[in-house]
Amino acid sequence: MITFAGVSKSFRPSGGGRPNHVLRDVSFRVPQGCLYGLIGPGASGKSVLLKLIVGLIKPSAGHIEVDGQDVVTSSELELQRMRLKIGMLFQNNALFDHLTVAENIAFPLRRLTTLSDDAIKLRVDERLAHVAMTGFDERMPSGLSGGQKKRIGVARATIAEASIVLYDEPAAGLDPVTSQKIFELLREEQHAAQATVVMVSSDLDRLLTVTDRVGMMYRGQLIFDGTTREAQESLEPRVKQFIHGLTEGPL
């Protein structure tokens, strides 16, 4: 379970100036095994929120708990242990340029487990097959298309069988068919592992077909938190406008 209580985050521009308030007083809870969709216009704080969950950045105020562990007060060593059970797909995929596809996927296992090379190779082959990328193991990331990079990113995020998985724009820049395949793949993964998933995506048509609950961010605040159906039926003007893609409204 992931719990946010009154979380705020500001960044101080280098060279002075007023702080940039990226998150303001955000409170919500993602229950165990839930697929939570996080939506909102650009620069509303969604990616920052994901990084706060795993402790890659610290909040300016508030309290964050992941499976009972206080992320804010944990040391870097404690956070490293916590991250053993968290997989993450980054917005830019964040594949390591100097490693092959197989080495990229195996990286979390090599760092986080004591599995033998043979066991790791088996697991990598299985993941590659699962994301329909068999035979790409020796390719370098620079030789892959956007969709292929996403698939490798998904394989790496899920290889350690994490109980919590975070996806930041898993379908950004992909064609509709590939996007649909990626979302179906992520849903299958979540069902199989019974993982808690937080997914940030601008592709609402597809996102809302797989989520259990939805939160909407707007200018650093969480303005909606409810089930997917409630989000679709919401009369809150900003939520309604964003979900239905209306040009008229407060956004």
Binding site: P13, S14, G16, N20, F90, A94, L112, Y218, F224
Partner: protein, 286 residues
Amino acid sequence: MTPTLARPNASSPHEPELEPLEHAYEPLGFVGSLGAAGIDLIVGARELYSVFVRTLHYVVRGRREKGAVIRQMYEIGNRSFLFLSITMGFIGMILVYQAGLQAKRIVPDFTLLGATFLELLVRDFAASLGALMLATRVGAGIAAEIGSMVVTEQIDALRMCAADPIDFLIKPRFLASIVMTLVLVVCAGAISFVAGGLTANIAFDVPLRTFFNHELVDFGDMAIGLTKCLAYGAAIPIVSGYCGLSTFGGSEGVGWATTRAVVNTSLAIIILNFFISGAGFLVFPG
């Protein structure tokens, strides 16, 4: 579960009552800017020190990545050898020619031209000039590579896999740089000396046997030169790695980090040179 609205009291559905975000930079006055720059400098120095201490920690207790140091030795060493050899060769020729011209005016005696040039090379010039050349090539490369990893979230991905960027990226470069700076400086210094000898022979008819004279080089010169090599070899990856890790923004940020790395590493080399030379004159006078 029922949906919850974080701002249920919004007065009008079309005018959400949110405070405006302060995205814009507010111009500071002169004193404010000076204060902000001072704070940034102190914070930067503290973070740089932290990178250095953590690198030393991981050298002793970090995880051994197979082939990582060798790979970096190749990157730093092999790929810099030609560049360093050519620049140091030309610097050797220029220095000997200029020194010869001055000597010719005052005491037209070239018997100690080679010996004094060698002493100068061993004690200072080979290490300092070689390291400045390395700072431009290696320092910029390290900062650009790590900086682009920051902006493409690869550093975050490393941290997600319990890999500290200092351990995974900076430590192998630190070890490789210390070894290869020493090797490169010795090779480039030798090339510089030979090039200087040839120049002296052609321009001032100094016999090569007279020029290649190591009488003036003693243990103190060697110790100071060696200390400088080690210090510069350590400083280049630490300073440029720190500049890379503190990258922000996109490609513009990477460019800025690269520039900062070259400037700060060069500055670090000159400051280290001052202190090591000072300490050297106290420990090994004359």
